[in-house]
């Protein structure tokens, strides 16, 4: 009955109306999983809305369904998707294909891989022009050039292969390709997630400008409420397949209705602010910081801390790391360039900088996984460059690593117990029942109680936050002096981050371990570190107490980094 309404009856007619949409994943041999549950909303022409929710909440599934890209095992079990009043579920293949020009288009989440690696960018454009015939054969190249310029790329990219472009460039190309369809509705599925902070910022700017100039209707999918609130007029908040909130951005910012939205919002703060309140965290501010330092020296474990102090500094002196050129004939990569710092016992040092600035390389140097090309890295008295296999093992006992991705850092086939027992058996004298007790104790330390229950679980039975706690417990098992945490929370949802960061902070206070905290998230650096070093292209451009660096950045690069931090509060200011 829905198909008879003709489009464009008036401005009031919504361009898209979704009614009671339910999407399930139905794989053979598995229970169906409902990823989108009974979702209804509608979109007016020219509207720019955001769709937020944590990972797995069903955002992409919804996006795919809206553009009829959902493929088995995804199945639309119920509901209607009315585009200009007609249900796109009923379109046949050819009608659908035609609809894709001037109709609805999508920019994929993993935009980096959205281009055919064996076709030049130009051919990508030509393919589209040819498929729809909306550009005259003679003006293919002209139109393609025009489009790439629109996304602020030089025309020369047209003759490159996707593999020759950076992630940001590729993402722009896919936006240009989507634009070439002259769509009325454009769905951006996390267009910037895989990108670096600074690039992310730039791409978002481009999208905002394009939306304003071209006037298409757009849905921006993101897990970052900050980004969405900054860019869009209206926001849909999704949680567990259900849209829990739908309203204008300012209203959501000022008066969030859903509990879930409130929780999300509460985790945002400006790292530059004088005082920072994050739930589950002690307040950060000038007075608070002083109290914290004070607490550190008088904590119940201060004896233990004192004992460590003597020989547990990490000292980096003029260290550089040069990698062989990735391809013959190119310049060698200077990943770390003459970096010096000391990580004193009990200290917490943040290492920030954009992707490729050399943060992980420093982590590897400090953990002995790699040797510096020049300069010196010491732990206590030992020069890490001259360690032998056995000594390296001893180093590992003292310098441990917290991995970035808790999903990848745990062997899916081993129980938590096995994972934790390994370092205990390897690094300590404890055996048998004693080792097991220590294992349970560790689980309790990281807050996984009842420990007995958690010990028996396999990684897939744990949530992301729980997994990260296991990873941390493993790092603690050998009772190390130094923890190197390379982006330990970047793969976690906002709601889980605070808990894990809180744990790290506690551990440092309680046990006196020193921590090298690597991140590009300035807010978290503010929360858990005392000092901060800003890295740009392998060089330290700025360093000092964390709050000072963030509040009064002197280097231009640091300022740009700070500008790129998404922040709902700023949305309020600009509006």
């Amino acid at each position: 009955m829905t198909t008879n309404t003709t489009p464009a009856q008036g401005a009031e007619e919504p361009i898209l109306r979704v009614e009671n949409l339910t999407v399930e994943y139905r794989s053979e041999g598995f229970e169906p999983v409902a990823a989108v549950k009974n979702v209804s909303f509608s979109l007016r022409r020219g509207e720019f809305i955001g769709l937020v929710g944590e990972s797995g909440s069903g955002k992409s599934t919804l996006g795919f369904a809206l553009t009829r890209l959902a493929k088995p095992p995804a199945t639309i079990v119920d509901g209607k998707i009315l585009f200009h009043g007609s249900d796109i579920r009923t379109l046949d293949d050819e009608a659908l294909r035609k609809q894709r020009r001037g109709g609805f288009a999508m920019v994929l989440q993993s935009g980096m891989n959205a281009l055919n690696p064996v076709r030049t960018i130009r051919k990508h454009f030509h393919d589209i022009f040819r498929a729809h015939g909306h550009v005259e054969a003679g003006s293919f190249n002209a139109r393609a050039s025009e489009l790439v310029r629109k996304v602020e790329l030089p025309e020369t990219v047209l003759d490159r292969y996707p593999g020759e472009l950076s992630g940001g460039m590729r993402q722009r190309v896919s936006i240009a390709l989507a634009l070439s369809l002259e769509p009325e509705l454009l769905v951006f599925d996390e267009p910037t997630t895989a990108l670096d902070v600074l690039v992310q910022h730039a791409v978002m700017d481009t999208i905002r400008q394009l939306q304003a100039s071209e006037g298409f209707t757009a849905i921006l999918i993101s897990h970052d409420l900050g980004i969405v609130l900054e860019s869009t007029e209206r926001v849909l908040v999704m949680h567990d397949g259900v849209v829990v909130e739908d309203g204008p951005s300012h209203q959501i910012l000022d008066d969030p209705q859903a509990e879930y939205t409130r929780m999300l919002l509460s985790h945002y703060a400006d790292p530059r602010a004088e005082e920072i309140h994050i739930p589950g965290f002690s307040t950060r501010g000038r007075s608070a910081d002083a109290a914290r330092a004070e607490r550190a020296t008088t904590s119940p474990r201060s004896d233990a801390r004192a004992a460590r102090r003597a020989d547990a500094s990490i000292v980096v002196e003029g260290a550089s790391k040069v990698y062989a050129p990735p391809r013959r004939g190119e310049q060698p990569v200077v990943a770390v360039d003459n970096v010096s710092f000391t990580l004193a016992p009990g200290e917490s040092l943040a290492l920030v900088g954009q992707s490729g600035s050399g943060k992980s390389t420093i982590a590897r140097l400090v953990t002995g996984a790699e040797k510096p090309s020049s300069g010196l890295v010491r732990f206590g008295d030992s020069n890490l460059a001259s360690l032998r296999r056995r000594e390296l093992r001893d180093l590992r006992k003292n310098v441990q690593m917290v991995f970035q991705d808790p999903y990848a850092a745990l062997n899916p086939l081993h129980t938590v117990e096995y994972t934790l027992l390994r370092p205990i058996l390897n690094f300590t004298e404890r055996r048998g029942e004693e080792a097991r007790e220590r294992m349970l104790e560790l689980l309790e330390t990281v807050g996984l109680t009842p420990a007995e229950t958690f010990a028996q679980k396999l990684p897939h039975q744990l949530s992301g936050g729980q997994r990260q706690r296991v990873v941390i417990a493993r790092a603690l098992a050998s009772d190390p002096q130094v923890l190197v945490a390379d982006e330990p929370v970047s793969m976690l949802d906002v709601s889980l981050r605070a808990g894990v960061l809180g744990l790290l902070e506690d551990l440092r206070e309680q046990w006196g371990v020193s921590m090298l905290y690597i991140t590009h998230d300035l807010l978290s650096a503010r929360l858990v570190t005392d000092r901060m070093m800003v890295l740009n292209a392998g060089r330290v451009v700025e360093s000092g107490p964390t709050a000072d660096v963030l509040r009064n950045p002197s280097d231009e690069y640091t300022i740009r980094l700070l500008d790129a931090v998404p922040n709902p509060a700023r949305a309020r200011e600009t509006r």
Binding site: M401, F403, T415, A435
Partner: protein, 302 residues
């Protein structure tokens, strides 16, 4: 005192392995094609196991009428030497199944060992191994097999297995190597290194169990190749023609010109059995493919 906890740990590890195998079996079974394969294979294994009870006569019991057609006493007729064809088919299943599984298993073990160490090690050693593997990959297998088989001269089944293994491990090693390389750089492997585990332990406890499905697939692939290679070598008379297998049946059939004597069943039946056995393994691999690569799981595509 260690025994009190290490035993349960070990038992748990075993349970983990069993769980993995169970999961694999489940995934295989959920694929209809693989299910057909499993049933077919089961039939052959049962036939091979219970040959003494199933076969109406002994494998090389002769003295029956020569080159006779099918009859109540000899459903598939007799050979030129006066043996019962049906009995030979049933007994022959043993050799084919055994050679397939033994050669497949040994080749896979070698492939796993070489693939793992090759993939895990960096530097010159790896290059040398890589070179050898590539060499074995490009050198045409069957000519090499024929040459080696004629050198080893009729060690019988053991020799056939040896020849098949020598020429059959390289492919698996290459596949497993690239998988090892991927796994080697995974965080949980680095984490195990940070947890102080030895390389040996990392390879066998962290990397290997994560390749179970790939190894299973490579085993079935190797077994299929082994079954076909055995038949080929036996057919050329390079095996021991006195053992009764489908390959030697074809050899004798060809030798006494079964086509001429009208004994086309004698030629047809063993060949079909070889094909069915090999097919069953290929079908099972459809299911195994689905484990290591979810995209290949059953389902409508577009």
């Amino acid at each position: 005192m260690t025994s009190t906890t290490t035993t349960p740990v070990r038992a748990r590890a075993l349970r983990g392995t069993l769980r993995t195998i169970g999961r694999i079996a489940g995934t295989i079974w959920s694929n209809p094609r693989a299910r057909i394969g499993v049933v077919l294979l089961a039939i052959f294994i049962i036939t091979a196991t219970f040959a003494p009870w199933l076969a109406p006569y002994g494998a090389s019991q002769d003295g029956f009428e020569r080159s006779a057609g099918g009859s109540a006493a000899h459903w598939l007729g007799t050979t030129a030497a006066g043996e019962d064809v049906l009995s030979q088919i049933i007994w022959g299943a043993r050799v084919s199944v055994f050679v397939g599984f033994a050669a497949g298993a040994i080749a896979t073990v070698i492939a796993v060992l070489i693939g793992l160490s090759w993939g895990y090690s960096r530097g010159f050693g790896g290059d040398v191994v890589g070179f050898i593997v590539n060499l074995f990959l490009v050198i045409p297998g069957l000519p090499l097999m024929i040459v080696i088989a004629s050198y080893l001269q009729n060690g019988g089944i053991v020799m056939i297995i040896a020849v098949i293994v020598v020429t059959g491990w390289a492919w698996g090693a290459r596949v497993l190597r690239s998988q090892t390389q991927t796994l080697r750089s995974r965080d949980f492997v680095t984490a195990a290194r940070f947890a102080g585990d030895s390389s040996f332990r990392i390879i066998f406890r962290e990397i290997l169990p994560n390749m179970t499905s790939l190894i299973t697939g490579s085993f079935f692939g190797a077994a299929t190749a082994a079954i076909l290679a055995e038949a080929g070598l036996e057919f050329l008379g390079l095996g021991d023609p006195t053992t009764v297998s489908w390959g030697t049946m074809l050899f004798w059939a060809q030798n006494s010109n079964a086509l001429l004597t009208g004994q086309w069943l004698l030629l047809f039946a063993p060949g079909l059995c070889i094909a069915l056995l090999a097919t069953s393994l290929t079908l099972i691999n459809f299911g195994v493919d689905g484990i290591s690569n979810p995209r290949l799981r059953e389902g409508k595509g577009r």
